[in-house]
Structures are given as structure tokens and as C-alpha cells.
Assembly symmetry: C2
Homo-oligomer: 202 residues x 2
């Protein structure tokens, strides 16, 4: 009786793969935003009928949040990688440079789902908006804490306000996201990054 042996489920087996379908939903939310993505679009992209979605993922808000988690550990994994660069300057350079490439990548929807996925709240979708605000604050805090570490290593000067610096970097990233939904090219975004990195505090 192996404890790691997966019990066979009793009823009719699922005809779709949970993660694959969620990945499809992610792409829809990413390209259309929360409000802009309709259940009709989602069902078609996911290739399963509506009641199956509700049974497997819950309602639209929960589906969005589950897709968001997939987004965090997948497409935006480069952010965590950037944090591990040896110096604060290199962290930011990696973060923003990779962001420029990511946001304007032609193989994925333009812009960052977390930055601009739902800026307004239609009273109902307030939970989604608040979740996104929390995520944004999350990686801003991660930047700040990385800068605090840099300060303790004399990598950043003691006079630097790490919270302000983190908010600045996050703001540039969010602005780049807006630019990416327009017609900004990767090269233009990289030029913005170059400008933002001039005179980095030491």
C-alpha cells in the first residue's frame, strides 16, 4: 500500500488537462484584461464547456486568480532571477532589460498582466483589482528588500531611500507596460531602460 500511489478517481475522468486549459485561459486574460475577457472567449480558448470550467476552477474571478498564479511562476520568472544578480544596479538592469524584451515579445500578449490587467474596478471585479494591487506591491517590496540587502553590503549608499527607489523602478516598469500596449518596440523600451539607468545611485 504505497502512500505515494495516486488513488484512481471514482467517477468519469476529465477530458481536459487542468494546467493546459488554465494556460489557455491565462493567454486570454493576458491579452484582453480581466473585464475584456469573456467567458465565451475563455471556453473557446480552453476547449471545454462552461460548466466544466466552473466545476474545475470556480467562477471567473477565481479562474483569473489561478491564471495569475501560473503567470507568476511562468512568464514572470525572470523577475525572481533578476533579484539574484550580485549588485543592486545589476538587479535593476536585469529586471528592466528583461522586462523590455518580455513586454514587447511578439510571441506573447503585449504588456504585463499584473501591471495593467485591471486598473478600473466595476464594483464586482474589485477583488481582482485589489489582488493585482497586492501583487504589484509585492514585487515592489521585493525590490526594496533587495535594495536593503545591497545597503547592508555597502553596495548602495546609506543615504539611499530604498522604498522610493523601488517605487521608481516599479513605476518605470508599469509605464513600459502601458507603452507596450501601444506601438512601442523592444528597441524603444530598451532606450527607456537605458535612460532610467543613467546616474544610478552608488
Amino acid at each position: 500500500m504505497n502512500i505515494s500511489e495516486p488513488k484512481k478517481p471514482r467517477g468519469r475522468p476529465s477530458a481536459f488537462n487542468y494546467d493546459e486549459a488554465l494556460q489557455k485561459a491565462l493567454m486570454v486574460f493576458w491579452s484582453r484584461g480581466y473585464e475584456g475577457a469573456s467567458m465565451a472567449e475563455l471556453t473557446e480558448a480552453m476547449g471545454i464547456n462552461r460548466p466544466s470550467i466552473y466545476a474545475a476552477y470556480g467562477n471567473k474571478e477565481e479562474l483569473f486568480c489561478k491564471a495569475l498564479e501560473k503567470y507568476m511562476v511562468g512568464p514572470t520568472a525572470y523577475v525572481a532571477a533578476a533579484m539574484r544578480e550580485p549588485t543592486a544596479r545589476q538587479v535593476v538592469e536585469a529586471f528592466l532589460t528583461k522586462s523590455a524584451e518580455f513586454l514587447a515579445d511578439e510571441n506573447t500578449p503585449r504588456g504585463c498582466m499584473i501591471a495593467i490587467g485591471s486598473l478600473f474596478s466595476g464594483a464586482d471585479a474589485d477583488q481582482v483589482k485589489q489582488a493585482l494591487i497586492a501583487y504589484r506591491r509585492g514585487y515592489e517590496t521585493a525590490l526594496k528588500e533587495r535594495f536593503d540587502l545591497a545597503k547592508s553590503q555597502n553596495d548602495l549608499h546609506k543615504s539611499v531611500n530604498t522604498a522610493d527607489l523601488a517605487k521608481y523602478v516599479a513605476t518605470v516598469h508599469q509605464g513600459m507596460s502601458v507603452q507596450a500596449t501601444g506601438d512601442a518596440t523592444k528597441e524603444e523600451l530598451l532606450a527607456v531602460v537605458h535612460q532610467a539607468l543613467k546616474n544610478w545611485p552608488t
Copy 2:
């Protein structure tokens, strides 16, 4: 027979003031975005019935565009004023500082309608999205031309890429708009501006 004498209209007079009602519509679009603002909300805020809106302003897209024009000459007049500052550095400082105050102003909706009014397009609203992209490019171009002028006056060094610099400033502004829809305070936005101005080219 004075030519400037306004002819009295023939039929039943309007029961509402065109500009006042449009101003109300503007506030709704500003706070909810294009997609998020429903005709029901608009009619209630404007205080007139739906057929009167369609008769006076056209459909929802046209109403949005008319409200946008009002936004341009009203709330965002500070942008044009900033352009008239004597030096490029002062132009940007005025633009971003005033933006920080504007975006987080508690008496108006948070964020900039042009920057984030409609980032996604639900196929139908593509015209609105494209209009906003054009407006964004408009003030980015205005910045670039102001920087070109500064270059010709030896206010900015010849080596400066004015297009890149303008895009950088626009990006910071758009990022601040996203921040403002979250919980960023005026003071935090001003700290971002301070950070963004540190690396100003000379």
C-alpha cells in the same frame, strides 16, 4: 441684422446644458475607463435620458471622444503650461511634479484618462484605444519637440536623443498613472519624480 446674433432655434429647447452634461460624462469615463463606464451610469450622471445623449453627442464612442477633448483643454492644461518653462529640465520637472499632484488629487478620479483610459480593446472599442494611443504619442511628440528646441538653444547637449528622452518622460508619467490607480499617495509619486529627475542629462 447683426450677423453675430444667434438665431433662435425652431423646435423645443434643450432642457440641459451641453457642456455641463459632457463634463459629467467626462468624470464617469475618467473614473471608470471607457469599457467600464456604462450608458446607465452615464445617463444618471449626466441627468438626461438616453435618446437625448445619442441625439446630442452620437454613440458611446463619440461621447467618449468629445469628453476626451474636454479633458485635453481642461484638466490637462497644466501640460501645455509646463512646456513653456524656460529650460528642458524645468519643463520636465514642472510636467512630472504637476502630474504627481494631478494624478493623486483627491478631488478628481485617480490616474490619467489618456494614459490608462482603455489599454485593451474589445474589438469594438478599437477606435477608442487607437485614439488614446494617438493622444499619448501626441504629448510625447510635444516633449520631443520641446527638447529639440532646447538643443538648438544649447540647453540640452547635442548628443542627447530627444525622442528617447521624451519617451522616457512619457513612460514615467504613464507608470505614475498606474501607481495612482492603486494606493500611491501624492508624496510617493513626488518621490518617484525626484528619483526620475536625478539622472537628467546636461
